[in-house]
């Protein structure tokens, strides 16, 4: 889940590995994969990951306590937020979820263990690249562990460099894996250095067989410029989340659709690629959009109790104050309404007739734009095609199929109910691609005669 801004992380202590050591490490990881990981059945990978996940979900386990002790402060999130993220992420690393992921990606998941008969005759096998380098964004904790797990499932060794705000979970996960399955853990290394790239990043890019990069356009550009021509890249870039609220969600349900929308924005303090920045609300329902914006504001206020904001990074605060001041002037001029948490909390709702689809300042700032019909919202998304991914919806009624078709044609890769928006299932088509299929190479053996 590529996102916009590094959180205000606590200072980090980490060993500094020279380029030579990183090369040695990569040699070791490649050998571990070729000599051992490739022989490990996928079921054993699922089992080992599941054991670690269950420990992370067990309130009595020291692994969970170690994770929670550092997660919030390190990521710049409130403890309540850190806990809910750990619970949801670790749940997706459990056996049941991983098996469904495998089934969703491969009609016969055993193609990951050896040749299997293909539907067209002959046989086929799927295998991940020997050594994968994962460059995390650091804005949403847990994302880099998910990336690591995906690679292990397809029998790839992993060199992971998480972003600054996502260091705790990969380290704790790797420690847990070492305890549960030492052989498997030999195929995993987690390293940290400041910034996305730099000299260590260049060494890793040159030595990897496949690169998975999360980050902004500038990061992806940086990676592309340095990547050897033969090395494939799976890039998960910035995305602009959008919400669509149809009239049917604006009746007696208006309060609950506002609560769901607020939560979709608030989870990860809006740093997720799935997090909505703009909510298009249809006119003509029982609750008009300006009234709905007030309900949304109330929902944000309530969330500050159950799911408080993390500390506000000064750069975000600077932008936030500008947004608020501008929106207050707009309100004064009769062009919209703004609600915000004042000096108590950063959440800000800008109701903006004729507003445009644009990214906001994060930290729970959202635009509410009224539309006569949701098709206007789809038209407004046209200019943002390369950045579309998740569209959260409520109250579409019978128009769901028709709107889904319009969104698919725009390149939207996920339409989900607002309350599901923060938590795509493990088998989602991440940025439009199969999460495991994007990591494997197939080998076909065609039948003789």
């Amino acid at each position: 889940m590529a996102t916009l801004q590094e959180p205000p992380a606590r200072p980090l202590e980490h060993p500094v590995l020279g380029e030579e050591r990183i090369r040695e490490l990569m040699t070791f990881l490649r050998r571990a994969r070729d000599e051992r990981l490739v022989e490990v059945p996928v079921a054993r990978v699922v089992g080992a990951v599941d054991k670690v996940a269950r420990r992370l979900l067990d309130s009595g386990d020291p692994l969970r306590r170690a994770a929670l002790g550092e997660l919030g402060p390190q990521a710049g999130l409130s403890d309540a937020m850190a806990e809910i993220i750990l619970d949801r992420m670790a749940f997706d690393w459990t056996k049941e979820r991983l098996l469904r992921l495998l089934e969703s990606e491969f009609p016969d998941p055993l193609v990951l263990d050896g040749f299997r008969r293909g539907a067209m005759g002959g046989s086929l096998r799927a295998l991940g690249f020997p050594l994968t380098f994962h460059l995390g964004a650091g804005t949403v904790p847990g994302v880099s562990v998910t990336s690591l797990v995906r690679a292990l499932l397809v029998k790839s060794s992993v060199l992971l460099k998480p972003g600054r705000g996502d260091v705790v979970l990969p380290v704790v996960f790797a420690r847990g894996l070492e305890e549960e399955d030492p052989v498997l853990s030999e195929s995993v290394a987690v390293l940290y250095w400041p910034g996305a790239g730099g000299a260590p990043g260049e060494v890793a890019l040159r030595g990897a067989d496949l690169v998975v990069a999360y980050g902004g356009d500038d990061t992806v550009r940086w990676v592309r410029q340095r990547l050897p021509a033969a090395t494939p890249l799976r890039a998960y870039r910035h995305r602009l989340g959008v919400g669509l609220l149809g009239r049917a969600a604006l009746g007696g349900e208006a309060g609950s659709s506002a609560a769901a929308a607020a939560r979709a924005v608030a989870v990860f303090d809006q740093r997720g690629c799935v997090s909505p920045h703009v909510l298009f609300v249809e006119e003509g329902g029982e609750t008009d959009p300006v009234r709905w914006a007030a309900l949304l504001a109330r929902a944000f206020r309530d969330l500050e109790v159950s799911l408080p904001s993390g500390p506000l990074p000064p750069e975000q605060g600077a932008a936030l104050q500008q947004l608020r001041g501008w929106a207050e002037m707009e309100e004064g001029a009769g062009r919209g309404v703004v609600h915000h948490g004042g000096g108590e909390a950063p959440w800000t709702v800008v109701f903006q007739p004729h507003g445009e689809l644009e990214p906001t300042c994060l930290a729970r700032t959202v635009r509410v734009i009224p539309v006569g019909d949701l098709h206007e919202a789809v038209a407004a998304m046209e200019g943002w095609r390369p950045y579309l991914q998740t569209v959260g919806v409520a109250g579409l009624g019978e128009r769901e199929e028709e709107l889904a078709e319009s969104l698919a044609r725009l390149g939207v890769s996920r339409m989900a109910p607002l309350d599901a928006v923060p938590w795509p299932p493990p088998w989602w088509h991440h940025d439009g691609d199969g999460p495991l299929r994007a990591l494997v190479r197939w080998t076909d053996v065609e039948p003789e005669g």
Binding site: L4, H238, P314, A319, L323, G325, E328, Y387
Partner: protein, 400 residues
Amino acid sequence: MSFPELREELLALFARGVAEPLPEVVFNGLALRVFRFQCRENAPYRGFVARRGTDPDAVARWQDIPFLPTRAFKAAPLVSGDPAAVQRVFRTSGTTGGREARGEHHVLDLALYQASLLPNLQAHLLPEGGPMPILCLLPSPEEAPDSSLSFMMGEAVRVFGVEGLGDPTENGSAPPVGEPQGPLGGGGFFVDSNGGIQVRPFREALGGAVAGREAVLLAGTAFAFVQWLELAGKGGWEVSLPEGSRIMETGGYKGRTRALTREDLYRGLGEAFGVPAQRIVSEYGMTELLSQFYEPNLAEGADGSGQWAEAVAGRFHGGPPWVRTRILDPLTLGEMPEGEPGLLAHMDLANLGSVSGILTEDLGRRVPGGFQLVGRREGAEPRGCSLAMEDFLGPPGEGP
């Protein structure tokens, strides 16, 4: 209080120059009168103040004035007086995406701008008094009538150019700037309206300065200087400007070209122009403010020795006596503890005709004598709303 009364009072204050500190109680009294005047005359600002729950008559300390975010200049004309009497509209530079309107500073009375900028500029860039040829890597005021920076340097050339010292508060018609008035003239402007450097005229002016052996003031944006460093490096056009020459550098290249640290920029300027870092002064100003902030290194008589890095480290910006700066918590807008970084907010009395209390998007920390602008945290990227959008739109960059 009426506009003419406050104007006269402020012009008299500005005429006293920047050396004499203004007692807090005097500043406070004047600031409150200006604030109340603005609330009375400026409906959009009055609305903002009311929305922030402030009763103008109940405010007793200037610190309690609601500071208006600069972006509000994009929402409405902010005139404290008759909009028909506006003499000039200065505009902020456009955003990359061009989706958002440019900020507009409607200036009722250019005399206040002139009276504020000239003594401050003289004290920090021409402490010997002047005159001195002034070469500007900027578009001329004629080419860029809506640039407050071009206006400012046009005034500087008019008043402090070699033609001799004029009356800093004089509001006469300026002679055409950039016209030759001697070997170098009063100075000149060497960037055209679309941002390109006029290479040949600028090289000739530099050559003239070297040949004439008279010190010059070279002024420009960091963005233009970076462009010039690249050109000069390729063309082998480095010069050594005469002893006593100095450079004014002002911000404004964030996100537009490759990032250069200040140390690297100043080292480059030293190589390209032969001016040591101690004689390079950073100016910090913005379209929304009619007063400016300068580093005091030249005013305090730098001796030209020392290491480059040392010359930059520890520097700070200070404003004239008619401006006070607050450092605010990014969420609560309360005062930050001494030395901790926060949002810069300025109370600039020269903004009498618009809004004086301005909240910027810049981060800084208070130090004795002024404030230090704070760069981004290591590994963090400056991404406000518009910057986030620049990132979406893919500006040129060197990567992380």
